[in-house]
């Protein structure tokens, strides 16, 4: 077998990169649990017809077949009925899980879910075919109060803030409210709200002039209406004054509506609460449109400060119908962190690093193969006290064993005391191979410095 090469779009990390990813995942999980979110996992596959309910995403789905199935076999027919595809996000499976288990869940149901998803898109920097998402959602049965639209981005602010201890740059969470946009557009007299949102969504890519042309050509806007939409999109700020600015703008353009007013009350409440609970993290940004997604209230995007080119690393919003079984409708609000996108940038830009690539703190040297069991016993004693330990692969010269530890990044090498002539054990010794310092120790009591016990993730350079 020749040396294989990586598959584009399917990232894998070396062990030290995986330590970074695992630390990120641990911090996220810990934060979500502190906020009372229960962890669930769903299967990787969903019926194809479920995955294709949102027509937009059909291009991206990976369809499965069993290798030896006949294309039109009885078990898995060739038409879509019964076919399975890999999930492309964690929202569609979560909606299905909620419906399937509604009778056994307590609502509002708070869940986090950290899993891989797959999209058959063309890979780019930060855009993969297989990647890890970390989602939180709250879903209600029949109704869901607005205050969850304030709470959920603040949970993410807490989670992403906790990552700063690992050396991750700060984030800025950009929020908008669909009701504000829709209320304003309708107040202006624009009825094709989707077309306007589609145009505004391109602002960062093509610039305001091209968007104005688009709004005229595709959303039926006059140049004046287009200009007003662009004025709205330009509003942003970290305090409640944005609400006043939008209100002033709407009055000036005669675009005030009840829907706009409702959206502004919500947006104002969110910005005010955020300014208090996560100062400087959350910013109202009226150009955030979230494309054609099914959001109906707050929408969120998140940039890594200094890495805005990466695009959003945490997005979501409020949807009035996550799922419905005909009797009950389940509204929800949620956000999803693109963990692979974030971690790939952390690694490729050298922003953070693991202090070593193995969990091992101590390598117990082996004096001779006959005495390996003495080294095994020391290792067991250290592990019993929570110290990650391995035993040297061979009874090579000590210099070679130290080199093995060095190559693996293990900070300490333990030498088991030889029984002396009288049969009394000589003292064990441990060497810090970074300083070269070697000291007499006892496996029942010695502990490495706290910072050496486990690999840590720290800001690089």
């Amino acid at each position: 077998m020749a040396r294989p090469t990586p598959l584009s779009g399917f990232p894998e990390w070396l062990p030290d990169g995986r330590i970074v990813e695992q630390h990120v995942l641990d911090v996220l999980r810990r934060t979500f649990e502190l906020h009372g979110f229960a962890g669930i996992e769903t299967r990787a596959v969903e019926p194809l017809e479920q995955l294709l309910r949102k027509g937009e995403t059909s291009k991206e789905v990976y369809v499965l077949r069993r290798l030896h199935d006949e294309p039109a076999g009885a078990d898995e027919p060739a038409d879509r009925q019964g076919q399975l595809g890999l999930h492309f996000d964690l929202t569609v499976p979560f909606a299905r899980y909620v419906l399937e288990n509604a009778g056994r869940l307590a609502f509002p149901f708070r869940r986090y879910q950290i899993q891989k998803v797959w999209r058959g898109e063309r890979p780019q920097d930060g855009r993969f075919r297989e990647f890890v998402q970390a989602d939180i959602d709250v879903v209600g049965a029949g109704a869901l109060p607005y205050h969850y639209e304030v709470e959920l981005p603040l949970v993410m602010a807490d989670a992403l803030g906790a990552l700063r201890d690992l050396g991750v740059p700060p984030v800025r969470i950009l929020v908008n409210n669909r009701k504000v946009a829709e209320g304003f557009y309708r107040g202006l007299g624009l009825e094709d709200v989707e077309a306007v949102l589609r145009g505004i969504d391109k602002l960062d890519k093509v610039g305001p002039e091209a968007v104005a042309d688009l709004l005229v050509a595709e959303a039926g806007a006059t140049p004046e209406q287009a200009a007003a939409c662009l004025e709205l999109a330009a509003v942003h700020g970290g305090d409640a004054s944005v609400v006043d600015r939008v209100r002033e703008l709407a009055e000036r353009h005669g675009a005030s509506t009840e829907l706009l007013e409702e959206g502004l009350r919500e947006l104002g409440a969110l910005v005010t609460a955020a300014a208090e609970r996560a100062p400087g993290v959350l910013v109202a940004d009226l150009k955030i449109a979230r494309g054609l997604d099914y959001y109906t209230g707050s929408v969120y995007e998140t940039v890594l400060v200094g890495h805005e080119d990466l695009g959003s690393i945490c997005s979501g919003g409020r949807y009035d119908t996550l799922a419905s079984d005909g009797t009950t409708t389940y509204p929800g609000v949620g956000l999803s962190i693109g963990v692979s996108r974030l971690v790939s940038r952390l690694l490729s830009a050298g922003l953070v690093r693991a202090t070593r690539s193995v969990p091992t703190a101590v390598l117990v040297a082996v004096t001779s193969e006959e005495r390996r069991t003495a080294s095994d016993a020391v290792a067991a004693a250290l592990r019993a006290r929570g110290i990650p330990t391995e035993v040297a692969p061979s009874a090579a010269k000590f210099g070679k064993q130290i080199k093995h530890a060095d190559r693996r990044g293990i900070p300490f090498v333990w030498f088991v005391g030889d029984a002396d002539e009288d049969g009394a054990p000589a003292q064990d010794e441990v060497k810090d191979i970074r300083s070269g310092e070697q000291t007499p120790v006892d496996a029942a009591t010695w502990t490495p410095p706290a910072e050496d016990l486990l690999p840590r993730v720290v800001a690089a350079g």
Copy 2:
């Protein structure tokens, strides 16, 4: 959307089941790291031609295609070249990972890997189409000393032993050595070793008489040779006396060979070390054959005591060629825990349970929506001290808020003190809703009893 039904073979757990699974995974990971194994993850897909190298498994593979690809499009042609399939184990991807990254890994390389795998098999009790495996392997470059064949099952004994704290039943690890079997068969004059192994592998299913017939019919054995093979397969025991019994048997049948003797030395060393380091867990069992797998030395299977019908929950062995790039061969030894198989039995047989289905220890009640921020502040203070906390969904009557906590299994409800007429804050109080006891508390200092802080996993009943 009608209420969806589960997909056979794709298990999912409710939140309390997921807590059990997550605890199991945490204990495994923790133990593997204590033993110096580095965690890696590989992508879920491999080139189909890689997955089909072992012909036996070709039936089980799920093949991927992108929904809108033409069957013979330029991007992913219809022939196997370039096609991707989901991995059916973690060994094939690990072998590829080792080859791909050999220059950046230190050997012997110790890794653990906990991921889902997929097999298009017919689902049965404990046999799924999607399931989680937890693997450990040590792989050497060019050579790998025998002592790793002793170490790895003992790491698994440690990991599975650590699960006993959660209420998981004890396990028995059954070991054999291919060299013993092959040496014995060849000593008897049987050359088609694979055919003999294939027959012996059916012993538990069809019984000794049918196996004897098989050995005669398919392995070219005389009835006497078949009887000798069955005598060997009947040998088992937890100490080095098994070695003597096999040696005696071989002498009686004139079947002693150098290969047999080498295998017996290895098996004896393993059983002796295990009797000391994990007494009662590891048993030599000469009928363990591991089908047609590519093992060349020790082989391992593991049963959950009292649940032998479940089949092996942890299997593996020594393979002389995990991978090869033409220049270097990478021998290895590893075991794989069938986590989904284990967890599904723990849950379905009611062996263990989570003490609650949510991480939340405290629900902070809300007096009125205007005072929700006061409840948010208490929640933040508790979380800052590591206490999982959520805030009530609405300012309903306290009785209803307590009921919400009860339904979710949250043990404590916190009442924020109302400001009294003088503006001085009244005391906060917390109610243990199980005992009904309500006591004055301070969010800066109160801590729940340790056993209530997080959901625990305990033996049921």
